[in-house]
C-alpha cells in the first residue's frame, strides 16, 4: 500500500497573551491508503490540533505552523501546509472530509441540513442544484437518516445528537473524499448511539474505500476499528504501532499506563486500577526533554537531558522512550 499522506515534523504554536503554547511539537507519520489510523491522547495532547493544522483550520493571526505534509492525489503530490487559501479550499471537503465532535456547533444553525450537504456538491463537483438534491437524498439515506425528503429541509436544531452526527458524516463523505478525519465523533453521544455511529463509519469506509484518521481519547473504542494506533502526549507522537502489537506489547510507559487505566470487564473491583500519577505538562514551556518523565515510573537521569528520538522497537513499531521495557533497562545508544 502506498502512502496517501506523509507528515514531517509538523509543529504548531499558539501565540497568546500569556506566552507561546507549544501545542504540537514535531509530529511525523505516514498514512497508508485504505487504512484506519487511530490517534489517541488525552485532552491537550495535540491530536486535534495536528489535524486542524493540516487543513488550515486554525486562526492564522495567532497560530504558527511549520513542517510539511504531502498529500498524494493519484499521480500528483500536493504539499498541504504551503497551500494558499484557494488551493486548500479545493482539498478540504473534496479530498479530505472531517467530522467534528460537537456537531451542533460545527453545523451552520441557519442553513438546512440539506443545503449544507448540497453546498459542497455544487462547489466541488460542479453539480446542478437538481443533481445535488437527488445526490443529497441518497447520502442522507446512506447514513441512516429516515425520510430523507423531509429531513433535507430540517435545521440542525431539529435533529437529535445522533442524527446530527450522521448529517455531519453525510457532509464529510459527500464528494467521495480519499481521507476522512473523524475527530472524536462519538465522545459526546450516549453509548447505544455511539455503537451506531461506529458501525456506520465502518460500513462507509468499507463501501467507499476511504482512509480514516480516527481521533479519540479512549483506547477501548478504537481497538476494534483501527489498523494502526498513534499515541500522542504533550504534542508528540510517543508510540506508533500496529493495533494488535500496541495493545499486547506496549513499549512506552504512557501507553502502558493508559491501558492499565481501563477497567477489565468482569474484574471484581478488588484490584486497583493502574493510574498515572500527576497531570499532563504545562504547554507554555518549550519541551527540552521527555515530557512524560515527571509522571514516569521508569524515568532515569538521561530522560531529563533530551527529547527521545523514535526508537524502532519492532516491525513498524516506534517508541519515543529511552527505557527498554522488554529488557527492563535503559536502551543502549
Amino acid at each position: 500500500m502506498s502512502d496517501i499522506l506523509s507528515v514531517r515534523n509538523l509543529t504548531t504554536r499558539f501565540n497568546t497573551f500569556n506566552g507561546v503554547v507549544h501545542a504540537v511539537n514535531g509530529v511525523s507519520f505516514d498514512l497508508k491508503e485504505g487504512e484506519t489510523l487511530a490517534v489517541v491522547g488525552e485532552s491537550g495532547s495535540g491530536k486535534s490540533v495536528t489535524m486542524l493544522s493540516l487543513l488550515h483550520l486554525l486562526p492564522k493571526t495567532t497560530t504558527t505552523v511549520s513542517g510539511t505534509a504531502e498529500f498524494k492525489d493519484g499521480e500528483q503530490t500536493h504539499e498541504l501546509l504551503s497551500m494558499s487559501e484557494a488551493e486548500i479550499n479545493r482539498v478540504r471537503g473534496r479530498h479530505i472530509g472531517i467530522v467534528f465532535q460537537d456537531a451542533l456547533s460545527a453545523l451552520n444553525p441557519v442553513m438546512t441540513v440539506g443545503e449544507q450537504i448540497t453546498e459542497s456538491l455544487t462547489t466541488h463537483l460542479g453539480l446542478t442544484h437538481k443533481q445535488a438534491y437527488s445526490h443529497a437524498l441518497e447520502l442522507l439515506d446512506n447514513v441512516g437518516i429516515a425520510q430523507p425528503e423531509k429531513r433535507f429541509s430540517s435545521y440542525p436544531h431539529q435533529f437529535s445528537g445522533g442524527m446530527r452526527q450522521r448529517a455531519m458524516i453525510a457532509i464529510a463523505i459527500a464528494c467521495g473524499p480519499k481521507i476522512m478525519i473523524a475527530d472524536e465523533p462519538t465522545t459526546a453521544l450516549d453509548v447505544t448511539i455511539q455503537t451506531q455511529i461506529v458501525e456506520l463509519t465502518r460500513r462507509l469506509q468499507r463501501e467507499m474505500g476511504m482512509t480514516v484518521i480516527w481521533i479519540t481519547h479512549d483506547l477501548g473504542v478504537v481497538a476494534g476499528i483501527a489498523d494502526r494506533v498513534m499515541v500522542m502526549y504533550a504534542g508528540m507522537p510517543i508510540e506508533l504501532a500496529q493495533v494488535d502489537e500496541l495493545y499486547e506489547n506496549p513499549q512506552h510507559p504512557y501507553t502502558e499506563g493508559l491501558l492499565g487505566a481501563i477497567p477489565k470487564v468482569g474484574d471484581s473491583g478488588a484490584e486497583r486500577l493502574l493510574s498515572i500519577p500527576g497531570a499532563p505538562p504545562d504547554l507554555f514551556k518549550e519541551p527540552r526533554h521527555c515530557q512524560f518523565a515527571w509522571r514516569c515510573d521508569y524515568a532515569f537521569d538521561h530522560c531529563w537531558k533530551e527529547i527521545p528520538p523514535d526508537f524502532s522497537v519492532g516491525e513498524r513499531h516506534y517508541s519515543k522512550c529511552f527505557y527498554d521495557m522488554d529488557k527492563e533497562k535503559p536502551r543502549e545508544q
Binding site: 453509548v191 481519547h217 479512549d218 477501548g220 481497538a223 476494534g224 492499565g260 477489565k264
Partner: protein, 345 residues
C-alpha cells in the same frame, strides 16, 4: 420487597416519582405536559456498599440521586435514610441530616465557588453545621486535603488554579468534611481524562475502605461502574430496568437493554474486539414527556412482542437479589446480535 440477605439497609426508596412540569412561556399558568424524569422507582442501598446507577442521558439517574438527598421534592413516594423519612422532614431536621449525606457533582468547576479559596470551600460545611473552633477547622481542612491527595498549602489557591482531576479531589474533600455516611457521586469522572479517571476512582475506593462510606455512583456507561460497584441498577426513561449484584448482572443480564449496554462496553483488546458482534439498538431514546405505552423500552427492543406494547412489565425479583422489569426476564432470552442490527447501522 427485600433484597437484603445480611446487609443492613441504609437508604430505602419506595415508589418514588418526580415529574417536572413543562411550562410554556406564553401561558405559564396553564397545566401542561410533564417530564416523567423518575417514575415509580423502589430499591434499597445497603450500608457500606457502592450501588452503581447507569443509564443514558435523560433517563433520570441524576434526578434520582438528587431526590435521595432531597435536593428535589418528590412528586410522590418516600425515601427512608436509616430511621428518618427524608421526604417528610422539616427544614431544620433536614439540615441536620445533610451532614450525613453529601454529593459530588460532575462538573468540578461550576460546583466550586470561583471567588473562594479551596480552604474556604472545604471549611464552609463545618462553619454551617458544627461549632468547631477556627483552629480545629483549619486542622480538619489540612487533614482532608491530604486525605484526597492534595498538599496542605493548596488550601490557599483558587479553583481555577487546579486541573480537572484536582478540582474533583477538592469536591470530594468538601463532601467528606462532615464525616458523611452516604455520598452520591453524580458522574464524578465523566469529564476527566482516562488516566485521571483511574486516579479518582482509586481514591474513592480507598476512602470507602478507610471510612466505610456508602456510595451511589451515577454514570452513563458500564465500564467504570462495573469496576467500582457492588450492585448495579440500570435505568431507562425514568424506570429501573434491572438491578443485580455486579457479577450476576454481567454473567446473566436478563433485560435486553442491559444486554445491549454490556455489548457496548469497548474491550481494549483488538483481536477480541474485531470478532465481537455488537448489539446495535435501533433509533434513539424516546421523549420522557410522552413515553411509549407498555414497556418503555419496546420501541428499541429487538425482542419486543405484542404484550410489551400493551402491558407495563412488573419490576420484580426473578432470583434472590436480581430484579428486572421485562416480560421475558424469567426466560433468560439473549439478543442475537446478527438479528438485532437493523438498517439503522
Amino acid at each position: 420487597m427485600t433484597d437484603t440477605q445480611s446487609a443492613e439497609t441504609l437508604v430505602h426508596v419506595r415508589h418514588i416519582s418526580k415529574f417536572f412540569p413543562v411550562r410554556s412561556s406564553f401561558l405559564p399558568l396553564l397545566r401542561g405536559p410533564v417530564v416523567r424524569a423518575v417514575d415509580d422507582i423502589s430499591f434499597t442501598i445497603h450500608k457500606g456498599e457502592t450501588l452503581g446507577l447507569v443509564g443514558e442521558s435523560g433517563c433520570g439517574k441524576s434526578t434520582l440521586g438528587r431526590l435521595i438527598l432531597r435536593l428535589y421534592e418528590p412528586t410522590s413516594g418516600s425515601i427512608q435514610f436509616e430511621d428518618n423519612d427524608v421526604t417528610s422532614l422539616r427544614a431544620s431536621e433536614l439540615r441536620k441530616l445533610r451532614t450525613r449525606m453529601q454529593i459530588v457533582f460532575q462538573d468540578s468547576y461550576s460546583s466550586l465557588n470561583p471567588r473562594h479559596r479551596i480552604g474556604q470551600i472545604i471549611r464552609e460545611p463545618m462553619q454551617v453545621h458544627t461549632d468547631m473552633t477556627p483552629r480545629q477547622m483549619r486542622e480538619r481542612t489540612e487533614e482532608l486535603l491530604q486525605l484526597v491527595g492534595l498538599r496542605k498549602n493548596h488550601g490557599e489557591r483558587f479553583p481555577h488554579e487546579f486541573s480537572g482531576g484536582q478540582r474533583q479531589r477538592v469536591n470530594i474533600a468538601r463532601a467528606l468534611a462532615l464525616y458523611p455516611q452516604f455520598v452520591v457521586c453524580d458522574e464524578p469522572i465523566s469529564a476527566l481524562d482516562v488516566s485521571i479517571q483511574a486516579q479518582v476512582v482509586n481514591l474513592l475506593q480507598d476512602l470507602q475502605r478507610k471510612l466505610g462510606i456508602t456510595y451511589l455512583f451515577v454514570a452513563h456507561d458500564l465500564s467504570m461502574v462495573q469496576h467500582i460497584s457492588d450492585r448495579i441498577a440500570v435505568m431507562y426513561l425514568g424506570k429501573i430496568m434491572e438491578l443485580a449484584a455486579t457479577e450476576d448482572l454481567f454473567r446473566d443480564p436478563r433485560h435486553p437493554y442491559t444486554q445491549s449496554l454490556i455489548s457496548a462496553i469497548p474491550i481494549p483488546n483488538p483481536r477480541r474486539e474485531r470478532e465481537r458482534r455488537r448489539i446495535v439498538l435501533e433509533g434513539e431514546v424516546p421523549s420522557p414527556v410522552n413515553p411509549p405505552s407498555g414497556c418503555v423500552f419496546h420501541t428499541r427492543c429487538p425482542l419486543a412482542q405484542e404484550v410489551c406494547r400493551q402491558q407495563v412489565p412488573e419490576y420484580r425479583e426473578i432470583e434472590p437479589g436480581h430484579f428486572a422489569a421485562c416480560h421475558f426476564a424469567h426466560q433468560a432470552v439473549n439478543i442475537d446480535p446478527d438479528a438485532g442490527s437493523g438498517p439503522a447501522a
